[in-house]
């Protein structure tokens, strides 16, 4: 099977995708309409939470008599560094392959993407590096920007990264022999059916 076909199949069987048809489909649009407000709030919040820095500075400057160290180590650049790491955390595999957001945008008590695809997606990333396909890696790195900049722990904004993981999974699978491809995909479809019924059970209990 070609990457394209596998990719589409993986999207269709992924819980985060079909869940959108179970919940109210207009929710995603409501969220997107609100996104300018979310972005504004996120940007303005970056430099507001400085109380901890002030406390450390105060400790250093008054108790330990080290005013220079206090200013050198604890300042707003530290907040920017933190933000950079929070940005990278948008790629955290746990979010996509295990926990989800825990909100209405994700199916409850199951993973947004079938867990068994996790090692395959990472093998796909390694293969992309090996084949120097850095454009796709870069797209992956950028994919969580929307989720970060809106400051919302919502799958509606993080789904581009989910698509990236699905693509790398499809990329890896496309290198497998047809026999193993079919076996794995059949297994994945059965597992996704299991997840579908599990969600059904949880909703109705």
């Amino acid at each position: 099977m070609t990457i394209k076909k596998i990719f589409i199949l993986l999207i269709i069987i992924s819980p985060f995708f079909w869940w959108q048809f179970v919940v109210k489909p207009n929710l995603i649009f409501q969220k997107y309409i609100q996104s300018p407000k979310f972005i504004q709030t996120k940007i303005s919040s970056i430099f507001t939470n400085t109380q901890y820095i002030s406390e450390f500075r105060w400790n250093d400057a008054t108790k330990d008599n080290r005013p220079f160290a206090a200013r050198f180590f604890y300042n707003k650049s530290q907040l920017l560094i933190n933000e950079f790491i929070y940005y990278l955390n948008g790629l955290n595999p746990r979010y996509y392959f295990q926990s989800g957001s825990g909100q209405i945008d994700c199916p409850p008590n199951i993973e947004p993407i079938a867990i068994f695809l996790l090692p395959i997606s990472f093998l796909g990333i390694f293969r992309l590096i090996k084949k120097s396909q850095f454009k796709i890696i870069l797209i992956g790195l950028i994919s969580c920007f929307l989720g970060y900049i809106t400051g919302q722990n919502s799958f509606y904004f993080f789904f581009p990264t989910a698509l990236f993981y699905l693509y790398t999974g499809a990329y890896e699978l496309s290198f497998w022999s047809k026999k193993y491809q079919y076996i794995f995909l059949a297994f994945l479809i059965i597992y996704s059916i299991f997840l579908f019924f599990r969600v059904n059970l949880i909703i109705h209990s």
């Binding site: 330990d64 180590f73 929070y86 295990q98 926990s99």
Partner: protein, 538 residues
């Protein structure tokens, strides 16, 4: 020059691990005190604090400590006496020596020697390893034996010398005996190593060596198996820290009582447990934990330090890039094995992202960092890169020192049982003035329900005779219990040392309070109160 590099790295490691060793962390923890006193007891009587002769698991406060650290501490107690320095010295020393064997291991794994030395430097100044090396943590000892064992195993693969095989088995076994995490990690890791090197082991040729090796292994394994099946030593610890104790998991489980078949199939306990465990396991692969706040030196939300320095992020990514592209398949596979197994043991326990339980993960990072350096050395802009790296590294190191020396003690002096040392020293000096010293086991500023083990500190700092203690289970002139002011205050000529929680609503005159100790965040820790002397003494 090259021959001086290892001693220099060792020296750097020693500086970071021995500088003001007794001052940071701010106080001996309960575990350290127990290790120190049990080592003292073994030295003086050959028995632990419970009177058991040369035990293989130290019951201590009921947590059954692994024995290696206690026995390693014995010679240092013999030389330096029962002191904080002697207690912390073995871990600091083995932590420093780990750097030497890590470099040797990396070279054995065919990493460029320059990159291996860089990785040695990286480990010698790594907060993750420095902190735990400074406080007599068993995990540091276990890691030392694990790294050394791996180095010796690969040496054996290369030269098939029986000595290397035996010492490797001894090291792996000591690693298992040293710390709980390694009990799961080492067996899986060694099986993985044997599998990876299977083509280089001619099992027919080395049959004799393997039989001897198995005999050596049995010397360590049989007592362990006996301990596992016939005593509570290993099971107790596993049960106390088990993932099943987490309420989020135990509440979700059906415990075999399913309502119907649908429940049995789609909400099975095995699936729920697997999903829960997986979340904990994947939690370790988290940029925030690794680069920002994994060390938990300060409270959540405050500036913190990751398990590796932030400046290492580009080197780390380059290392992954190099490994993926590398033709050294064995190196790739060993790194992957170590990287995936590293947080495994920790993920089966109840705390989230535990840097101590995942200490066994360090060598995986070391290999990736070494590969990153190897890649840097191939860059055209390597000089600029390295200069910038070392400038930012220096800032990172100074930042770590600031957090570690100035900020962390203010946040977590309580966590290190700060105050018990001061109590013990005061009580020992003044015990002749009182008929009895009553010390409350209520401890901390969070609430009245937390307790500590003050008796351990009295044993340690007052150098109590171990034989007397394990025979009577009492310390003369001392008693330890929660203070009931109404009754305890009526006893004449007593010194009551208590947490403020125990006497919150009691009427105590200022004259009776002779001393106060605060935690380093200025919250009240202990109050020393005297009761009235009786008429006879007057």
């Amino acid at each position: 020059m090259k021959k001086y590099l290892l001693p220099i790295l060792f020296f750097v490691a020693v500086i970071f691990r021995f500088w003001q060793l007794t001052k940071y962390p701010v106080s001996l923890s309960m575990d350290e005190t127990a290790i120190g006193y049990n080592a003292y007891s073994i030295l003086k009587t050959g028995k632990d604090e419970w009177g058991e002769f040369l035990p293989l698991a130290f019951k201590s406060a009921g947590d059954y400590k692994p024995p290696v650290n206690v026995y390693l501490t014995v010679p240092f107690i013999a030389i330096f006496g029962l002191t904080e320095f002697a207690t912390r010295l073995p871990s600091a020393l083995l932590g420093s020596l780990t750097i030497v064997f890590l470099v040797l291991l990396l070279i054995k794994l065919k990493v460029n020697s320059k990159a291996a030395y860089f990785a040695g430097l990286w480990l010698s100044i790594l907060p993750w390893h420095i902190h735990f090396s400074r406080a007599s943590f068993e995990a540091v000892t276990a890691l030392f034996f694990l790294v050394t064992g791996t180095y010796l195993f690969i040496s054996w693969i290369e030269n098939k010398k029986l000595f290397h095989l035996i010492t490797s088995i001894v090291c792996f076994s000591l690693s298992v005996w040293s710390y709980h995490s390694e009990r799961l990690f080492v067996p899986i890791f060694v099986i993985g190593l044997i599998f990876l090197y299977r083509q280089q082991i001619d099992f027919q040729k080395v049959k004799k060596q393997i039989i001897i090796g198995l005999l050596v292994l049995s010397v360590f394994a049989i007592p362990f198996i006996k301990l596992f099946f016939l005593t509570p030593a290993i099971k107790t610890r596993a049960a106390v820290t088990s993932i099943f104790r987490e309420t989020t998991l135990s509440n979700a489980l059906h415990h075999g009582k399913y309502l119907n078949t649908q429940d049995f199939i789609f909400d099975n306990d095995i699936y729920i447990t697997f999903r829960h465990w997986l979340g904990k396991y994947l939690n370790y692969y988290n940029f925030q934990f690794i680069f920002l706040d994994g060390m938990q030196f300060t409270k959540p939300g405050y500036p913190n330090v990751g398990i590796i320095y932030l400046v290492d992020l580009p080197i780390f990514l380059l290392g992954i890039f190099y490994l993926v592209k590398s033709k050294n398949n064995l190196l790739k596979k060993i790194t992957l094995l170590w990287f995936l197994l590293g947080p495994l043991s920790a993920s089966f326990t109840m705390n989230e992202q535990h840097p101590l339980r995942s200490l066994v993960w360090i060598p995986a990072f070391s290999i990736i960092i070494a590969c990153g350096f190897e890649q840097v050395l191939k860059l055209k802009i390597k000089k600029i890169f390295l200069i910038s790296y070392f400038v930012f590294l220096s800032i990172n190191v100074l930042y770590f020192i600031d957090i570690y020396k100035y900020q962390s003690p203010k946040h977590f002096s309580e966590y290190w049982q700060y105050g018990y040392k001061q109590i013990a020293q005061y009580a020992c000096e003044n015990k002749d003035k009182y008929d009895e010293i009553i010390i409350s086991d209520t401890f901390g500023s969070d609430g009245p329900l937390n307790t500590g083990l003050p008796y351990l500190y009295i044993l340690f700092y007052c150098h109590q005779d171990p034989q007397k203690f394990y025979q009577t289970k009492r310390i003369e002139k001392f008693s330890f219990h929660q203070i009931t002011w109404e009754t305890d205050s009526l006893k004449p000529n007593r010194l009551i040392i208590t947490s403020p929680w125990d006497v919150l609503n009691s009427k105590i005159s200022e004259e009776q309070i002779i001393k106060k100790i605060n935690f380093l965040n200025d919250k009240s820790a202990f109050i020393f109160i005297t009761t009235k002397t009786n008429d006879k003494q007057k």
